[in-house]
Subunit: 491 residues, 4 copies
Amino acid sequence: MAIRTYEQYKQSLKEMRPNVYKFGELVNDVTTHPATKRTVEGHGQIYKLQNDPEFRDLMTTHSNLVNEPVSRYLSIIQSSEDQIANSRMKRLMFQKTGTCTGGRCAGWTALNAMWATTFDMDADLGTDYHKRFVEWLKSAQRRDITISGALTDPKGDRTKAPHQQDDPDMNLRMIELRDNGIVVRGAKVMICGVAAANEIFILPGSAYREEDKAYSISFVVPKDIDGLTIVETRHINDDREVDEGSGWDVPVSEGGITQAYLFFEDVFVPMERVFMCGEWKYTMSTIMNFILPYRSAIGGCVAGQGDIKIGSALLTSRANGLADKVFSEKITQMAINNETTFAVGIAAAALGKKHRSGVWQPDPLLANVNKVHVATLPYETSRLAQDIAGGIGETGCMPSSTDFNDPKYGHLIQKYMKAAKSAESRVKAARMVEWSTAGAGVPGCMHGGGSPDGARMFVRKFYDSDKSVDMAKRLARIEEEMPDPGRKPKS
Amino acid sequence: MAIRTYEQYKQSLKEMRPNVYKFGELVNDVTTHPATKRTVEGHGQIYKLQNDPEFRDLMTTHSNLVNEPVSRYLSIIQSSEDQIANSRMKRLMFQKTGTCTGGRCAGWTALNAMWATTFDMDADLGTDYHKRFVEWLKSAQRRDITISGALTDPKGDRTKAPHQQDDPDMNLRMIELRDNGIVVRGAKVMICGVAAANEIFILPGSAYREEDKAYSISFVVPKDIDGLTIVETRHINDDREVDEGSGWDVPVSEGGITQAYLFFEDVFVPMERVFMCGEWKYTMSTIMNFILPYRSAIGGCVAGQGDIKIGSALLTSRANGLADKVFSEKITQMAINNETTFAVGIAAAALGKKHRSGVWQPDPLLANVNKVHVATLPYETSRLAQDIAGGIGETGCMPSSTDFNDPKYGHLIQKYMKAAKSAESRVKAARMVEWSTAGAGVPGCMHGGGSPDGARMFVRKFYDSDKSVDMAKRLARIEEEMPDPGRKPKS
Amino acid sequence: MAIRTYEQYKQSLKEMRPNVYKFGELVNDVTTHPATKRTVEGHGQIYKLQNDPEFRDLMTTHSNLVNEPVSRYLSIIQSSEDQIANSRMKRLMFQKTGTCTGGRCAGWTALNAMWATTFDMDADLGTDYHKRFVEWLKSAQRRDITISGALTDPKGDRTKAPHQQDDPDMNLRMIELRDNGIVVRGAKVMICGVAAANEIFILPGSAYREEDKAYSISFVVPKDIDGLTIVETRHINDDREVDEGSGWDVPVSEGGITQAYLFFEDVFVPMERVFMCGEWKYTMSTIMNFILPYRSAIGGCVAGQGDIKIGSALLTSRANGLADKVFSEKITQMAINNETTFAVGIAAAALGKKHRSGVWQPDPLLANVNKVHVATLPYETSRLAQDIAGGIGETGCMPSSTDFNDPKYGHLIQKYMKAAKSAESRVKAARMVEWSTAGAGVPGCMHGGGSPDGARMFVRKFYDSDKSVDMAKRLARIEEEMPDPGRKPKS
Amino acid sequence: MAIRTYEQYKQSLKEMRPNVYKFGELVNDVTTHPATKRTVEGHGQIYKLQNDPEFRDLMTTHSNLVNEPVSRYLSIIQSSEDQIANSRMKRLMFQKTGTCTGGRCAGWTALNAMWATTFDMDADLGTDYHKRFVEWLKSAQRRDITISGALTDPKGDRTKAPHQQDDPDMNLRMIELRDNGIVVRGAKVMICGVAAANEIFILPGSAYREEDKAYSISFVVPKDIDGLTIVETRHINDDREVDEGSGWDVPVSEGGITQAYLFFEDVFVPMERVFMCGEWKYTMSTIMNFILPYRSAIGGCVAGQGDIKIGSALLTSRANGLADKVFSEKITQMAINNETTFAVGIAAAALGKKHRSGVWQPDPLLANVNKVHVATLPYETSRLAQDIAGGIGETGCMPSSTDFNDPKYGHLIQKYMKAAKSAESRVKAARMVEWSTAGAGVPGCMHGGGSPDGARMFVRKFYDSDKSVDMAKRLARIEEEMPDPGRKPKS
């Protein structure tokens, strides 16, 4: 049975070796530790929803590999409908958790990328990566595990290639190739949702040249593999999360983000879990295979969070006694922003193409256009949410819940926080605005999945401006040759 | 044979009764008169392309009604693929003509709208509108005619309903119902591409109430029907078009827009061409049936024109000797604008639904989001094109082609207009920038198909903010009821 | 001697009665308690700078009242030069502290507002408010005190006037008028810099009508007056501030914001400190007298913080090894944003007018235009800073300083955080980006000094569109009368 | 008497040698020829206003050179008040003419630039340029002449310096130096208001190096000097202007722009009118001396035109029966745009400095920030004007005035153009929107006075980002040196 329950999922996390640290402390149980439990609950909702008749069709899909329903997060995306469902599901999960369930989407995207890349390598090079990969994927589907994905390397000096760095470990690398596996050293950084994951899927962090062959590696490991140390990063207001007395100052209990630094100290990975191992020529296409679905679907993510921003802002204004229609222009603009990122991703899906391996790949131009919008529009949406909510939403400018309940002066806060609705509802609503626009719920979508400048570069690359020049030239009846003066003539 | 040739199309226009006026003069032959010939040539390209193997699949589709290929512009849109092809075809036509071939798209959209509305009326009311309509459509497909669509009424005082106007003719109305037809009086204004059309499809201009029953009419007439007088409007630089000496100051010969005022002086329309006749309850859905495909596909239109703006701007900068890469940021932003309107329309198509009549209807929220983008993004694209092109592109700041060729001082202009490319190519390129961003090629897309404020109103309506409030409320664990204070409680 | 030293200032705070609370705890000494010491240090820099020859001319000015140099923050603004110095000084203080020293600017603005209002009341009503006010101001200048300003009332249900609220205390009010003073009850909320202040200057929070006479009050009290309880609000990442182990996770030690809720439980204010007491007709002009200098100078504030955002972003990119020129476009846009808010404020000052009391009042149209920019442009500047800084700056996505120094795995973090510069410098730089764009340094400038919608309303009011209509009408030679149809004709 | 009347001005133009051409035809009298009379009338209003008591103080100023009042357009700007008056006067002239009176502002700016540059040259080099210049200026003030300014050269291939061009005439150059004067050859292009000018002031078009010494020239000539041929450029809808039957399709009679190409075919300039002649080292400062006042004051220009856009849009909506308040948000945004460009220019003036020659020079950073806004904000203002005005304003989508008055069908147009106001008023109002946002009134402000990219480059240069880095570094307590990796270390 490939569909686990919420309880089974949490139990599987409890059984893992503790190797996650935060604030100088080992997290013994990620499902109960305050630094990690909210993200686990957020991911846990996925397991709840896939067992809920209302959402089952969206959250699961039939797998030909194991011939039963599996989590969509473990499926191969084979059609535009599948990719559209990706956007929809991510929007739903942001609506349900208020934020990112990052321990699934990068992993899912990574496995779709490597489905294509391993297929190509086997076809071109006669390797058996794809076969290994299929076996692992079947097992993953049957176990219904949560898999986070890891690409980003520390990188060191940005002007130097991996092999040119003073410290060769600044990008994750294979330091030894054995018959039965490889040994890797280095780190992956800013990795989402690791605390909530069962396994971690590793991709090369960039497109590499031959000199960086040792960095051209892909594999998957259990999160608690020997030699792997995980340190969670700070995020905004994360102290509130670890302080059990914060009350509703952390307004959301069923959602939360974590991002981790993963340190690989000579970790051995058995060969059946290795999917690239020096084939540097395939790193560029791996990156592209990853970027296309990722940058398309991320528009659904920020749309879903934008929905929550709208909802939170209106809760606050309603608590203040103000009618929704006072803010019609702002809500409309926020809706336009949400739907724009959502829609451009849907369009990228609709105009995609099937890779020879069977994976559906969104349109590269539109996928990258979407990424640019994802890196800008949510900022305006947040600003508008704060505008509607007023000063208490903008920076959460209210006494803490501890003060709210203080026996000496709490009654004063309660008296004066009341408006058209109770003080408690009003404070909770404003904390939701703070949380989703300037607090712990902000998912860092600008650089997630690559920088906006990288996306702009791809937009420029995939937009065929020479074709536009030719069309304009024809229309204007210009007969002279008009090549780009910046392009070297071919000889 | 339902696919006419370019020559057949032009011949059909020549054979019509002249009833189009401009500058106080009757246009005897729209295919040769300088005020109308460019738009005819633009529309003529459609006939060329549907006979061109490269474009045939996009420009035509199989019709079940007549069981042969027909122009896509005369087809019923039955799937998301059909609607996506709509966007693609419109983008192509803007690329081929540099501007709007408005004598087809509103007509096409109107017939798709009335397909659904007549179906609904027949189903609900037992009328036979749909049957009539199908018969007419078969004939239209077989004749492969060009049909412009007309919605906008003069409207008079905007604060009054049609029947409240001092002059009841301010909206087109039925003044007599006969057994065999109706007599109509009034006007439709700002109608695109009438000069290039064979027939004109009329829809009600707004959603009406019972008092405005007489205004709730839809029908189709030959352009040259008795009692119909057509006056073309001015548009930017239209004098250049009628001045045969303008040379390349009108850079485009195979494209051009016209917009006309149509005056109906008690025109008799036979019943087999009447598709609504007093059923005011169906005017609102008619408008929506029109808006959905129209506002989705218009994103393709402005994307296609945006392609031409990019091409024209780069032709100018190349003529100045500058490499394309100097303008990378600007081209990227222009491309993002183009692809955004295109993509949101594609997404509206992909997320659409099938009406019970078989028509595919795009998603109403995304269709209207697209309309808002269409009313804003092309302005930025134009500004950027002018920025790249420099002062000569911004306002076309160059001597006229007459002066360029002047025997006394033309050689001075030619000497000094030369840069990295010939003076002539440079001038033509800059004129293309002027034409497409501030000249006769500007299609008036802001109000075409309704105002941006109307679209914003629909976005607000179709975005379910109460659902967002509920989701945020659940996340924040607010238990109090939080209704919109501006909404009356239901009793 | 009217210019105190840093030490004298801090000593004065130490000597006050403790009445500030946070997290359920009384702050015994605001100069040392971690919740308040940073803002005290920020304000303390003002005292350092006014004794520093480089900055003395900007920070101080000659007072005619006491005939010696006084802090500019205690001076009457008498010329456009004075108002321009206001903008400059605020920009400087943001540059020096990275954030708001809010315990001075609202107080300064309030005393300038009441200088004018008391002058008007005395002139019109024969009261002696201005005389009292002058005496108090002389004393304040001689003592060189820090004065925060308080306007915002809790307000309760936004659709009701103060006297209509269920609880009449929702706006601060006079509950008793005695011969020698008044007794006040209610609260002021979200008040900046109270912890660092010696006194608090109270203004009415809105323009009131006669029914709200009791709410029309202005006075000044020592911060530690009997009956006043102060509760500090949470702000972003404030737990880090109270956690002494946070290290550089709070990157700034000489700056910080606090915002407090002030609860007045029947506080007696002696008459010599009361400057308005029921004169509701003067509440509107009081608000305007406040808004004009405040909304002009706030452009300097956000410009100064924008400078720090640019600096922090470039520190991070330099640490990554990247040349500044990679980000030229972004830095240019950030600079444009900074200079725009700064400049519009300067222009408001330059085009101001002298009130009959001698106070210089900036142009009301430009002051409010500036407020709109202040509520929007800094958001773009923050986004661009995060864009330049990368993922570690966007959400501060790095392990905590505790983890950085952890004996077990700190060395791994240090190894991998290193880039072109040391790990420590890189982390500190990225923390500065986080702090100033998404952390504790964000000053909440959108609603500070009123909402952007309020400012937009004033822009509409002060922009004379009828004059524009008349000019256009003359140019177009329209002879018909063209009044606004929405305006009732005067009878 | 240094203040001429409108009649005297027009008479002075009539007396000049005709050397202006358009459409292959010599303009015999610029005051009556339809291609030039509107710009002459626009400039003529300046002479009317300087004799009007209401405007005299703004339009004139006292000259120390001739010790009497002179036109402000011929004065030396000596204080921030003078520069602020510059902005105000330009805003006024746009309000009075609806567009640019370009025959004065560039000339005025040029003479202020050369006041400083000649002063510097004389001081540094011992030349007597400044003395000559003063003599000429006295004469110009006494004669109260209109002087257009000319900088822009044809430039040829943009990647090559003047001396590297295939044709050395692509930039205006001295081909002979005689004892009593110089002989110049080449062209200046896109020069505003030449038709309305008495003299033309020439500046070098760029900063030059030694190899381009011959291009480093400045002088002033009568417009009708021998060897100078002037060809007017096309602008939008200029055919309407030369067609006497256009009626109100050219809505404005007292304003209009012309831009000309000036061809110098070996023109002799007497030495007393030569102000630079090979001193290439002073070309860079000449450009800067020009840019500073020009880019500051141009914010007033576009603000004035923005006022007319607001007025025209509201005239149209009022004619439609709609209340102004329907468009409050849009009007507010348009006002913000207007006031922003106006204000940033005012601030540049206020923060300026006195050059040693006595000229007041605006702040270079703010002047260039303003230019960027001038190149963008008016586009949004135009879009909003079109949005308010509806389809008839967007592209002027109405029959021509000829058709409006047609004996056969004109009554139909008149019947249906009527709304809440007469058809004629409504059409005129909409034509004003068209004229000012997409027609002949558009002044080409994006590249006037240099490109926006040039301005952005200067913003980057004048914004001291290293200072911002130092401030951030101090705040973050970073101790490592953090230089820009892209900057070569000084050795």
